[in-house]
């Protein structure tokens, strides 16, 4: 047995077999071969193996997700059989005495390029299918050992260097019991995703990937941030007990489910949840969320091969609004770019994606994408209590432009006799320091602020939160951050607006006393953090926390702040 310490990213305990998820290296080299016949036979057997895989995936997708989702694999099967692809590959092998992987890669690249150069955006996106099929065959030709996470079919703990948003979007919740990664912190995407899926996770272990092998028995302790590899029976038994007692504590918290969130001196604050898909609403209700404080709409755009239509989006927004039964739902418009890519948009690689063409910046240029989303939102607005917020706003002008587009789409819908709600609150994410500093001016024009701490911290500290070597600068409790948060909250209150927070900090037990003291009105967090937070807040007095926050603002370092909080309140 060995154990590795990491960062507890999502609470709970999971015990299952290891599934190693590594993205293989598909690089091919130009290799001369002598026996072209056996090279062609190798190609054939790789095509057969790919075909068999696709048939299986198609059958499972059909069963689990329905006909529409399965069709994509049907077209992949046809590509495998396509004479226009396979014949040139075989000819190339014969005529140039070159290895199958090189011949395939060359031929496939021509098709990929052809698709990319097509006029229709839809056909440009087919390049992704071509890449996918090519990789599947290359995997067999190169003898790479790789199973796509969407193809997992037994209970596992996923072990990876890191999980990208598209990896996590593909994970099957029924089979993935927990995960652990080499890199990342509490706010990396994989961690956020784990909390929204409510599966235990430990990240930032440095070396779990090299320490565990596929099939090893793994315990992920998302409470302590520990990973155990091949534990003995006695340890497994201990952890099963721990699993049970955690379940009991969760039961205790559950009693607070239908209670409002009130401090010991009678002040009400709102605890809302961050969600990614309509399916997450069940978790919000289960955990007694008083609203949705952040609906990340990116997931509607991910894990698919083209932009979602207005109707697809409308259905998703309507579902969330209806299920929330009149409780507020804050929808964040598309926040793509940065580290969240959409292959079918084919955006150029950037030197500094986090400082680049993303979120509202992209939406203001690609108005076709933005307008479609705004129309879908406006149409859905009559089905519940919709609030809309724009991400990554850096200047007042950006907000005004985005708002003008919203107003335009609204007038269009009204002239088409389509009902639109008259009271949609319109707000912004405050995640760029310029906006926090100018909050007093913004507060005159917006209905609310939602502070996105993950980005606000990394932009304020000028430190990439994914970069391990500077991750020490990711300091939520640094007085610099607390002062910016105070500026935003005070600015909102002066204009009679409300201020919320939808970053990870909002659900953090050390931050909650401070945020309460600074006057935060709404805390939006992973659904599973709501009940522990409600329990914590019920034991805190707002008056005391105001004093505490005042002291914290005047300290010099993040460490001093943490010490102050620890001494003042028992968590």
């Amino acid at each position: 047995m060995s154990s590795i310490k990491g960062i507890a990213a999502s609470a709970g305990i999971a015990i299952a077999k290891a599934f190693i998820l590594e993205h293989p290296d598909y690089t091919v080299t130009h290799r001369k071969i002598e026996d072209t016949d056996s090279e062609i036979a190798k190609l054939e057997s790789s095509l057969d193996a790919s075909r068999a895989e696709l048939e299986e995936i198609k059958a499972r997708t059909l069963q689990e997700l329905g006909e529409k989702k399965a069709e994509i694999f049907e077209s992949h099967l046809l590509i495998l059989d396509d004479p226009e692809l396979i014949n040139p590959v075989k000819d190339k092998i014969k005529e140039e005495s070159v290895c199958a992987e090189f011949a395939l890669n060359e031929t496939a690249s021509q098709f990929i390029e052809m698709f990319q150069n097509m006029k229709s955006a839809y056909l440009q996106e087919r390049a992704a299918d071509m890449r996918d099929v090519t990789k599947r065959v290359l995997k067999h030709l190169l003898d790479l050992n790789y199973v796509n996470p969407s193809e997992i079919s037994e209970e596992v703990i996923v072990i990876a260097e890191d999980l990208t948003p598209s990896d996590t979007a593909q994970l099957n919740r029924n089979y993935v019991k927990g995960f652990t990664t080499n890199i990342g912190g509490r706010t990396s995407h994989s961690a956020i995703m784990a909390r929204s899926l409510e599966i235990p996770a430990v990240v930032g272990t440095q070396n779990v990937l090299t320490s565990a092998a596929s099939g090893d028995l793994i315990i992920v302790d998302g409470l302590e941030g520990m990973v155990l590899i091949n534990p003995d029976e006695q340890t497994v038994a201990e952890y099963r007990k721990k699993q049970e007692s955690y379940a009991e504590q969760v039961e205790e918290w559950r009693k607070l489910r239908s209670e409002p969130t009130v401090t010991s001196d009678g002040v009400h604050v709102e605890l809302a949840a961050n969600i990614g898909t309509p399916n997450d609403v069940a978790g919000v209700q289960d955990n007694g969320g008083e609203g949705v404080g952040l609906y990340r709409t990116e997931f509607l755009y991910m894990g698919r091969d083209k932009l979602p239509s207005e109707d697809v989006q409308f259905q998703a927004y309507k579902t969330v609004l209806e299920k929330m039964e009149g409780k507020p739902v804050v929808v964040r418009t598309l926040d793509i770019g940065g580290d969240k890519e959409l292959p079918y948009l084919d955006l150029p690689k950037e030197m500094n994606p986090f400082l680049g063409f993303r979120a509202v910046r992209l939406c203001l240029e690609r108005q076709d994408i933005f307008r479609t989303q705004l129309r879908a939102l406006l149409r859905a607005s009559v089905h519940g209590n919709l609030r809309i917020m724009f991400p990554m706003i850096a200047t007042l002008d950006e907000f005004r432009q985005a708002k003008a587009l919203l107003e335009e789409e609204k007038s269009k819908l009204i002239s088409e006799d389509i009902a639109v709600s008259e009271d949609i609150q319109l707000g912004i994410m405050v995640e760029i320091p310029s906006t926090a500093v100018m909050a007093d001016q913004f507060a005159k024009e917006v209905d609310f602020f939602s502070i996105g701490t993950n980005d606000l911290i990394q932009y304020t500290m000028a430190a990439d939160r994914m970069n391990e070597r500077v991750s020490y600068l990711y300091q939520p409790y640094n007085p610099a951050i607390l002062r910016l948060v105070k500026m935003v909250i005070d600015a909102a209150h002066r204009e009679g607006r409300w201020a919320g927070m939808c970053g990870e900090m909002a659900g953090d037990a050390t931050a909650i006393p401070l945020l309460l003291g600074l006057g935060l009105d709404e805390f939006s967090m992973s659904a599973t953090s709501i009940l522990p937070a409600r329990s914590q807040i019920s034991k805190l007095s707002k008056t005391d926390m105001q004093e505490l926050a005042f002291k914290a603002l005047n300290l010099g370092t993040a460490e001093d702040v943490v010490e102050l909080v620890n001494q003042a309140v028992s968590k």
């Binding site: 069709e71 004479p83 692809l85 098709f111 006029k119 229709s120 087919r126």
Partner: protein, 91 residues
């Protein structure tokens, strides 16, 4: 024999109907079927070929079948065009 269609689907000829066309053409082993548009002719046995025509709404597409079952093949392909909402017969 051949039939000419006008593409009515707003997405043009996309992967799903292209798949259906290829699967249908493949059912008639003794007959070769082709798609011709914009001066380019491709075999209907190739989904990549069909997609490479880059057909969009409003474009014209001619389906051609040659062989013993050309009549049945062309009718079956025409059914796919209409049933999938891809296009309408251009008469």
């Amino acid at each position: 024999m051949q039939k000419t269609f006008r593409i009515t689907d707003e997405d043009g000829i996309h992967a799903r109907p292209a798949t259906a066309l290829v699967n249908t053409a493949n059912k008639f082993k003794d007959t070769e079927s082709f798609a011709e548009a914009g001066g380019k002719k491709v075999t209907l046995k190739s989904i990549l070929g069909v997609l490479s025509l880059g057909l969009e709404q409003g474009d014209t597409l001619t389906l051609i079948s040659e062989g013993p079952s050309e009549n049945d093949a062309l009718n079956a392909l025409a059914d796919v065009m209409v049933n999938e909402g891809l296009g309408e017969l251009n008469e």
